[in-house]
Amino acid sequence: MSAKAAAFAPVTPPLWLVAELTYTCPLHCPFCSNPLDFAAQNNELSTADWIRVLKEARGLGAVQLGFSGGEPLTRNDLEELVAEAHALGYYTNLITSGAGLNEARIRNLQEAGLDHIQLSFQDSTREVNDFLSSTRTFDLKRRVAQLIKGHGFPMVMNCVIHRLNIDHVERIIDLALDIGAEYLELANAQYYGWALLNRDHLLPSRTQLERAEAVVAARRADLGNRLRILFVVPDYFEGRPKRCMNGWATTILCVSPDGTALPCQAARMLPNLAFPSVRTSSVREIWFESPAFNRFRGEAWMPEPCRSCPERIVDYGGCRCQAYLLTGDIGATDPACDKSPHHGIVLAAIAKSEQIREHPLRFRSPDNSRRIMEASGSRTDFE
């Protein structure tokens, strides 16, 4: 534990391991959380590497395991990894688009001990779902939902929410009820990577957001425990930053397809942090000793206005990725906070989203990823 972190809270083990097994995905959603340069990453960890990571993280005390991606079902060793994780005592969650989940695989996953499935939809309508994912997957997802419930799995339906579908929130809730989901995650888009690239298209207006919030409140009151609705904070509109990842490297350990260990899925584009790899370091070394994981623990790193702000223990200064992407300074106060001297950037983005869009949506495809890398080197300018 670093001396800097000691004043804030002791470093405790990771509780939640996010295993991004692959960046391969048949869908091309323009708000994907994968990095813009995902097409440059093709050196995936082996099954044996993953099993070692699962053991090491469980050894430290991690209890929850999300298999994510890309589409984790594109890995044909998924069943083997689930079986290993189950034997180790994890609560295992498959985070999927549904593509690739058929009767045989779900039976094998159940036998392997899979506990829970999160299924994404992009909208409540076939047209918008299929447009946003650039695939004909809406009907497939509905069949997959039947498969999931037919096997008795608990199911979260996830839908990323943005300008193009936020007015459908009522029908998205109806879809969740219709497919038998226990939870619905209305995940207001978080503006990193592909979503930031397409922010002018995706950021809803304040009026749209307020209308959606009213719908959610009314349906929650009406539905009670039949369907639990999570409404992910739309931080651009809140005036306060989110407590991102429950604090930098406090709870969640993310391992990306090539083995790079991160405090969150978006962090790999942060400069000068030299994120360690599970290929060359143990999970214990990475979590407790690596400079990158210790960099924003505690409060010694905080600038003003965070340093003297009583809310610094509530939001930990917000999100480092957002601070870097919007201000260029990784150590700045998250500009989602209205106390940030850079909050105008967020307000300007909201204002700009009300205007006519000048260029089309850029879908998350390997071709677009390569084009972006060629055009801009390592970083794309969004100003």
Binding site: L15, W16, Q64, E182, N225, R228, T251
Partner: protein
């Protein structure tokens, strides 16, 4: 993610679909050499049921 405190953990550990509420209370009272836990256990299990962490099984 929800992190339980120790007593909540001890209650949920015993929710296996087989033990009755009365058995769970009796086991806990025995384990902690105390009495009168029924109301607390019932209140917590109602809360846990509302959260969807457990469900009542009739046997």
């Amino acid at each position: 993610m929800v992190k339980l405190n120790a007593s909540a953990g001890q209650i949920l550990l015993r929710c296996d679909g087989m033990r009755s509420m009365a058995q769970i209370v009796a086991e806990l009272e025995n384990a902690y050499a105390t009495t009168g836990l029924a109301a607390d256990v019932e209140a917590f299990l109602k809360f846990a049921n509302d959260k969807g962490w457990v469900e009542r099984v009739d046997r």
